[in-house]
Structures are given as C-alpha cells and as structure tokens.
Amino acid sequence: MPEIDRREFLKIAGMTAGAAATVACREPVHKIIPYLNQPDEVTPGIATYYNSTCRECPGGCGIRVKTREGRPLKVDGNPDHPLSKGKLCVRGEFGHMRTYDTARFAGPMKRVVDASGARKLEKITWDEGMTLLVEALRKGSSKTVFLGGAETGTQDALIDQILAAIGSPHRLRFEPFGQEALRSADQIVFGTDAVPQFKIGASDVLIAFGTDFLETWLSPLANQLDFIESRKNGKGFAIFVGPRLGLSGSNADQWLAPNPGSEVLVALALASEVAKRKGGGPEALRGLLAKYTPASVAEKTGVSQATLEGVAARIAAASAPLALPPGVEVQGTNAARFAAAVQILNVVSGAVGKTLVFGPDHNLGKLARFAELRELVGKMRGGEVGVLLVHGSNPAYSAPQVGLSDALHSGNVFTVSFAFAPDETAELADLILPDNTPFESWGDGEPVRGVKTLQQPTVRPLFDTRPTADVLLDAARALGASVPAGSFRDLLVAAWGGRASFDAALGRGGEWKDVAATSVSLAGGVASLDFEPAPLAGNASDPVLVVYPSHHLYDGRLSRVQALHEIPDPVTKTMWGSYAELHPETAAVLDIEMGDVLQIKTEAGELKVAAYPHDTIRPGVIALQVGRGGLPRNPDAPLEPHSYWQRDVIGVNAYSLIPGKLDPQSGALAWLSTHASVSNTKGRAPVLRAQLTFDQQGRGFGMACTTGALAEAEAKHGEGHGESGAEEHHRFGEWSNPHRLHPLPLQGDAAHLPTRQYDPAADAHPDSPYRWGMSIDQDACTGCNACMAACITENNIPVVGPENIRIGREMHWIRIERYVEAADEREVDVRHTPMLCQHCGAAPCESVCPALATYHSKEGLNVMVENRCIGTRFCSNNCPYKARRFNHWSYDWYVPEPENWALNPDVMVRAKGVMEKCTFCVQRINGAKDLARKEDRHVRDGEIATACQQVCPSNAISFGNLRDEAAVVTEARNDVRAYRVLEHLYTRPAVSYLMNIRRVEEA
C-alpha cells in the first residue's frame, strides 16, 4: 500500500482515537488529535451533509454525502435532485469507496525501464511531472489527443478550450455503452441524433428490446423510479424481448425470446400489427410494415404469430405505450436498423411526443462512436499521434478489439494517464498525473438538458493528487497558450454566474429547469429501409455468445470496489467472478454441469470460465457479464487466512470475446455477432452463489396475487375492515386476530392463517410510546440490491472475500431472495423477497441465547448486543429466517488503510466470534429520539428512515411506529396484500410483506 501522509489527513480528520499497537504496555495508549482550526459548520461527533454529483456512470445523479470529521462515510441521493429524488443505486452507494481505494496512486509517477528491461513506475514530484508533460506536449504539439469518458459541463468545455489553445483539438469521449445505435436510429427516423427522454413513468405498457433500463441504460436510477411509478398498485405491464432475463427482464410480466439477432423482426412485426389495429399507421410506413407481418416473421424469429399478435394487441390497446430501443446485449451489426425499427414501433404506437419526448435530451450527443476509437488507434499505429492524454476512460480494458497497447507501442505514443487508481490503460502510460477523485474535487455537469448539477469536494485529497483541469491549465500556460486565468474552481464559479449564485446552487446541489419538448416528424427515406436479422459468425450449432453489462460494476470501472463483487448478482445470485450462464437444456446437450470449467472460444479469443446453468436464459445461448477480469485489486496484500483473495484477478474479461465487428450505419461495436464454440474442460471451479435454489418449495416466502383477486379483495376489505374490534378476538402476544380469513389466498403453510393486526393493548410494554415495524412491498421491489449496498456502508458490514463466500459466510444483514415461479412467453413471475431480521415478537433466537446477548427491547426491536455475545451461535441455528450473521474472523483486522476510514463511527465494528444482524438502524432511531427528547416530543412518522428504506429506488420499504395509527407503516401493515413470512411458526414478525402482483388474466 502506498505511503499515506496520515498526519496531513488527521489535521482535517479531527477527533480520532487511534490505538498505537506498538506500545507494549498492558493497554495501548489512545491519543486525541484535535482540530488545528475547527470549521464552524462542524461539531465533532455530528455528521455534516454536502450535496454533490455521482460520477460512477454518465447518469449524473445528485447525491448527498454524509461526512463526519471530514470523512465521507455514506452516500445518499439528493432529495431535491430531479434525477435521483433522494434515492441512489447500488453503484452510487460505493462512490466514496473509490476515494478510499487502497491501491490509489500516491502521487505523480513516471514509467522507467530498469536494467532487466522491466517497465515499472517510479515516484516523481509534481514539478518533474509537469515538466515532462509540457515537454511531451511541446514535442507532440498538434499531434496530441485527449481520450476521455462521457463528460459535460464546465470542465468538458474547458478541456476543449485548452486543447484548441495548444493547437491540437483532437478529442474523443469514449464510453463502452455509447448509445451510437440509438443516435443513428434517431438520425434515420427523425432526422436528429439526440438521445431523447423515454418517459417510462408515464407509460402503461412498456416493451424493452434487451434494454437493461434498470441496470445501466441511460439513467438507470431515474428509469427505476419511473418504472415503479408506472406500476403502482397493479397498473402497468412490461414485456421484455431478448435472449436473457436480466434485472429488467425479471421485473417484466412477459418474456419473448426470439432467435438471437432476429429481435429486429419482432419489433417490426409488432409495429405492423399495431399499425393494422390502429388503422394502418402513417402513410409513409405502410409499405414497409406490410412486409413484416407477424405471420411472415414468426418462423424466422421463433416467436409464434399468436404471441406476437397478443403483444401487439396489448400495445395497440394501451393509452401510453413505450418501446425501449435495444440495449448493448442485443446490439448486432444491424444495431442502427434495429433501433430504428423500435423507434418505428414507437411512431406507429403513438408513443412519440407522449412517452418518447425530444427536447430534454440526454447529453450523450458528443460521445465518440466505437469506429472513431478504432480509427484513432489506427492513427497511433501510423505514428500520427504524438501524445495521448487519457482521463476517465479505460479503453485498454473495455475495448480490447482495437488493440490499444501494441498501437501505443508501435507508434511510440507518449501516453499520460490522469487515472487516480491503477487501471489497464494507466499500466500502459509513460506518465501518470493522478487526478483527484470525484469526492475530492469540484465540478459540474449536465447529464440531461436542463439539469445542471454541481459537484463539491467532501474530503481533502488523501494523496498527492491534483485536479486534471488545473494540470492542463498550467501546462497550457507553460506552453504559452492563451487560456483563461485562475484555477479551475475560479472558472467554475464564474461559469455559474459568480459566487452568490454558485453558493445558492451548491445548497440545492445544482439548478434545474424544464426544457420544452420539441416536436419531431418522420424523416424521409425510412420507408426504403430494409431490415435483416443480425448475422452471427461461427458454427451455427454452437451457442450464441451474449455479453451483457454488469449491474454492479457498470463497464468495469467499479471493479475495484470489493463490496460490489460480494453483493450477489441480482439475477444469478453469484458473487466474486465470472460465470458462463446457459440454459439447463443447452447444458444437458453439451454435457455441462454447474461449476464445470468451460473453454469459450470465438474468433476474438478464448476464455476459461465456470458454467452456471439457470432457467431465466434462452436455450442455445451462453451469456457472460463484462466488468471483471481486471487488474488484481491489491497484488501485495498480506497472506492472512482470508485476505489473500485480493492478490488474484477476479473473473474474466468478457470484452475480449467480442469480435471487432461494427455496425456500418452507427459505427457501434456489434456485441451480439457470433456463436461461441464451448468445450467442457472437465475441470471444476467453485460457483460462489448466495442461493442454491430459485424454487421456494411452495413455502410462501414470496407470495403473489393476481390483479383480479386483488381488486376483489380490496372491495371486500373495504367493508369488512375496521370494525374488527367489535369481534371476538383471539390474541397471541401483541397480535390480535379478528376471526377473518386473510382477504387474499395465502400460499405455503400460512394458507390457513387469519389476518393479524398489531394490538397495543396486548403489548408486553404497554407504556412504551414506540413499536417499530417495517413493511416491504414485493411488487415494487426490483431486486436491484441498492438496500444491500446502503446497509453495508451504513452498518460497517465487512467484505469477507471469495474464500469465505465459497463456504457461505457472507455477512449481509439484508439479502434479496429471488424465486422464479414462471419465466416464459405467457408470464414472468420472478419474486424478490428482501430478507432481513424480522424483529419477531416471539423471537426464537432470544430464548436460546445463554448470555442474554439478544432480547426484545421495549420498543419492539430484537436487539443484538454484540459485546455481550460469546458466540454459541444457537440463535442463528434457531432463526427460521436465517437473518443472523457470525463473525468467523476479526474482519476489521483486514480492512486496510485507508478503506477503514469509511467505517461509520455511529456503529460498532464487531469483533471476531460474535453474532450480528439487522438492527433496524438503531443508531438512526436513537438519533431521532435524541432530537425528539431535546424538543420534548415524540418521534414523528417519517423522521426515521432506515438505510435500506432511504436508498430504495422503488420506495418498497416503509418503516415506522406501529403505535401510530396514521403511520405509513401501519397502513401498509393493514393492506390487503400484507402477510408475514413463516407466520405459522408464531414468531410474530415485525416485518410484513406486500404480495407481488401478477399482471395476468385469470386462466
């Protein structure tokens, strides 16, 4: 680990009790390091919050960062922000962890070749670094290229300005998921290459063509907020068309899996059928659509005519349908045409202007196309590039097809990387001038037109790093180029109209105004288009290779965050590493079993990876997730019992299997372009999965009701509800039981159970003002894992590493159980049941603990006093929900500097040998109670939000005081869909669930 100037840090870190382990006396000496100058807004021990912007994907959501004594501890959504609305995704939750990355560059470095000819990095000072840079730029002069990622706002403009000033305005903004196809399609269909707004929230029927709109597509967080909005109490219907049910697919209601490559025909067939049902559709398209009737494509796509017509009928009948253009996983050499076909469907279905709106576009227009990157690399080979400046982009990893590394070598390009942590491209760089991380630097951006967000530092730079914009400014000045005076921050303030308005905006986190929608019309020449399925190279009998983006690691830029590897994938529930997904049928045909090491070979390369058969993928397909197989996270980690995993490369890089074929129209990389020859090496590799089965054995963990039943029940409930008090009550504990059967048919062994409401009169502590309870809406829950992420950062939950995961020792306090009931053309019924400590009224864990380390608090919490625990682990055995976690090791020993600076001081770090579990975020409850006591009142409803509830982008979780009749949670608890898991065991859970809603016609 690089040397950290700890003293420097502590100066701003404030009160810190550090145990000097070296002291050999009977107790280590604890020191108090006070502030040098105490900032006014900071009270030691009280958190301070700052608005900023999330930089983990181009989405640019607004975040609110919780800091204690100058350390960012927790990231949450900025409630005032139009995109995030106070929520955040699983990736954003860990933004600050990249600042605390153990392996960050401690300062500028230069590449030297030692005697043995090995290239390695050598620490240098900033002055040396600057001189080197200036030298290079002077030599490279007009042959300098700036290769960056998606960037908007002041810094983006400034860089263009600087490049122009030094006379070399070559710049590339490369993103692996660059939306090239969509932009070309819009060009073709509407004559503009903008990336419009897809108003999922306003739609009632949604059809996605392999679009991972809940994972990475455009602004996934906003998409999810909208998606759930559109599905409130049983509304909405979603259809997913694609080879594999991703997170988005799992939340759809119907799944069409046409032959890979032929999805385009499905889109057209639907368009033509919809047009037919809507009276022909626009004149210009009739000729075209006539060619692609369901009947004509049925055989080519493998989707029956009836099914197609059924879906088309639904779309035609919808008031606000919306079709989402293809995601990268189905992006073939016909990508642009495919996207065009989808837009045509939107045109004929009348989505344009209603749910598909141009005007408030996504700011992705300036992104480079893959073809341009390849072209640039070609130039390098040809020696036409002198200096390559890489910032916020990692093509060496995410675009192996272009062969950056040997191009740099052969064209001997002087490469400067501004990466703040090692990545594949930085490995190739000759000079490294580390940038500050987003949490250390100023900035702004405009991800969507009209939404300008600000980004402010929440911690002093931990290492000797400098903002790239300033570095470039200085370099330009050194070159005598005319650039604006002042530092980047000055320019930023200026760009925001001076100090006053800047500070005002900072308070909000930015400024947003509505952008008027612009009307678009069908461009000419659409009719003359012809559409073909994407051709697939390779042997037709082999499975088709599907490579898809990672929900946790995006394109791989987050692969350095351990916790994201350890959170189970929302679909496969696998952790740590890559697995080749294929359908059990295909596996049977190829004689493959779970965990067999497969050799997957395409013209681009070959990989060895463990097989993972599961049901929610189309037969004849083999799927791999990108984002893994990068640099080993911490190659020189100590060889302690379970930390050595850090030394290894995790998973394989799936990009390297994609042949470099491009879509001629859009210049996009064809992700779906080949069959892969799969051979079973007969080797075995552990499959690290959180769940051994997706079949809930009819045990009623995730329950569901159909829309029809729900309507009936609500009607009944309306009358029958309320006067239950009059009835003869049968009590067990604090749950009274009006003799009424549950309004909805329960599943599993709970089937015979009556409804139960919480009855304060029967509480063991009638004098206590609070009785905490939670309710989770399974219909809203998409299984996106944001709650797990929030819980991990809030409660100091350790990362245990693959070696322990293999045995099954994950530590997550909340997990999402995934049960697949149906996944086919008729219905997709995948149930996501977040499982956490149920804080049972009659908790089985309590009565078996010999040390009284767990008991029931007056406020209905099932309390775990970790420091009283002696680790008999009986409680875990006796917990039917298996919500308890045991510290097999002293995990806190293994949290390396500076990662442990992210530990939340409000929550103790558990020692080895003790049990731990969900506390309902008792630290937040106590905080709220302190406040209430100070103001001499009771805690108000909504004042406390548990970490999982606060972050949940689906608003699926409600938490509050069951004593409070008006509380949201009380309402949810009395909802007709409410049920308690395993209630027939009489554990009297404080957590109740709302049933999934199956949007199907009664058969």
């Binding site: 003293r7 502590l10 100066k11 009160m15 009790a17 000496v29 604890h30 020191k31 108090i32 390091i33 006070p34 502030y35 040098l36 100058n37 105490q38 009270t43 030691p44 021990g45 009280i46 008991y855 608090s857 007056k858 919490l861 309390v863 006093v865 970790e866 420091n867 009283r868 409000d906 929550v907 103790m908 770090v909 506390t919 008792v922 630290q923 106590n926 302190d930 006591r933 100070k934």
Partner: protein, 198 residues
C-alpha cells in the same frame, strides 16, 4: 494418627481457596500509580489554573468554553489548537514557573500547522456509544464522570468506586458499566442495552 490431621489440613486449605476465589470474582480494582497521576501530556496543561475556582485565584473558565461541543455533539472535543491560541497568542507568560515554555509549545504546534497529540485519559470501549450532549442536556455535571478536573494539575481518572444495589453492592470502578447503570437507575434514565451498545 497422621492421616487424620492431613484430612483437617486438606479441608481447611479447600475452604481458604474458596474464599480467595470468591474475593477474586468480585473484581476488586487496583489503580496503578500511573493512573493516579495521569499520563505525561505533550503540553503540561494545568486545568486547575484555567478552570479552578476564582476565589482560589484561578481563572474559573467554565468547562463548555473550551469543550463546547459537549452540549451539542457526541464528543466533548478537546479544543482545537486555534481555541488555545485565542487567548495564548496574547497570554505568553503564565503565573506558574516554566509556563512560558509550555505556552511556547502551543505556538510551535500552531506555526507548524500541527495539532497537539494529547494522551487520552477518559475512555469508554468502542462498543459503547456515549453521547455527551444527552448527558449535558440532562444536567449531569462534568465532574460526575470526570471527577474534579478543575482541581487537577494533570488530568487523571480519579479513582472512585460505587457500590451498586443491583449487583449485591459489589464495587464498580469509574466508567465501568455498573457505575453508569447505578446513575442511570437513580435518575430513572433508560436501562435498555441498545441505548449504548450498537
């Protein structure tokens, strides 16, 4: 004969052992001299002069003047160096011999832009979440837990033992759980484990 006596001796020895064991179990606490004088601090700060009673010729500065956060935050917050400088940029000469060297040290630290690495004296374990503001707001005097700091030349954990009703009047030393609980019970404060342990 001899073996009879041996029997007697054996029984007596057993009894003695039992008594000793019992005494050990009650956890009688021995204070080491080091604890009785308090550790050597980087700067020989004298609480008596600063906070001692004015009637005794001391300055009588109220605790919260320097330890303000105690009533707002979790930590009592050893004051920032800037707070010391607030006075000592003018007060360069104390009334005790050798004080000017000590005060000079403050300036040294401040000019070096370093904070003073004080040695911690009052400390509860990491698994105890102690919030100063709750106690200050509830009107608990600082001295209740910290002892008569205003009379201490060098801060130390004043040995004080309570005999708590709840645990058969066993002795419990300062800042031990029994010690906290005794006060909590007397004042009718919470006895919920999760009030402090989470």
């Amino acid at each position: 004969m001899g073996s009879g006596k041996r029997t007697a001796v054996g029984l007596v020895v057993a009894a003695v052992c039992a008594v000793v064991a019992a005494a050990g179990a009650t956890g009688l606490y021995q204070y080491t001299p080091e604890e009785l004088t308090g550790p050597e601090q980087p700067i020989a700060f004298n609480h008596q002069i600063h906070a001692g009673a004015i009637t005794d010729g001391n300055l009588g500065i109220p605790c919260l003047y320097c330890h303000g956060p105690a009533e707002r935050g979790w930590n009592a917050a050893v004051p920032a160096v800037s707070v010391c400088m607030g006075c000592h940029q003018y007060v360069k000469q104390g009334r005790t011999p050798g004080s000017e060297q000590e005060i000079a040290k403050i300036h040294e630290y401040y000019d070096k832009k370093e904070s003073i690495p004080w040695i911690r004296v009052h400390r509860v374990p990491d698994y105890v979440q102690f919030k100063h503001m709750r106690h200050v707001q509830a009107g608990v005097a600082c001295q209740e837990c910290h002892g008569p700091v205003q009379d201490e030349k060098r801060v130390y954990l004043v040995p004080q033992t309570r005999y708590t009703k709840r645990s058969f009047f066993l002795p419990t030393a300062k800042l031990e759980m029994g010690w906290c609980m005794e006060c909590h019970l007397q004042r009718g404060a919470t006895d919920d484990c999760v009030a402090c342990h989470y």
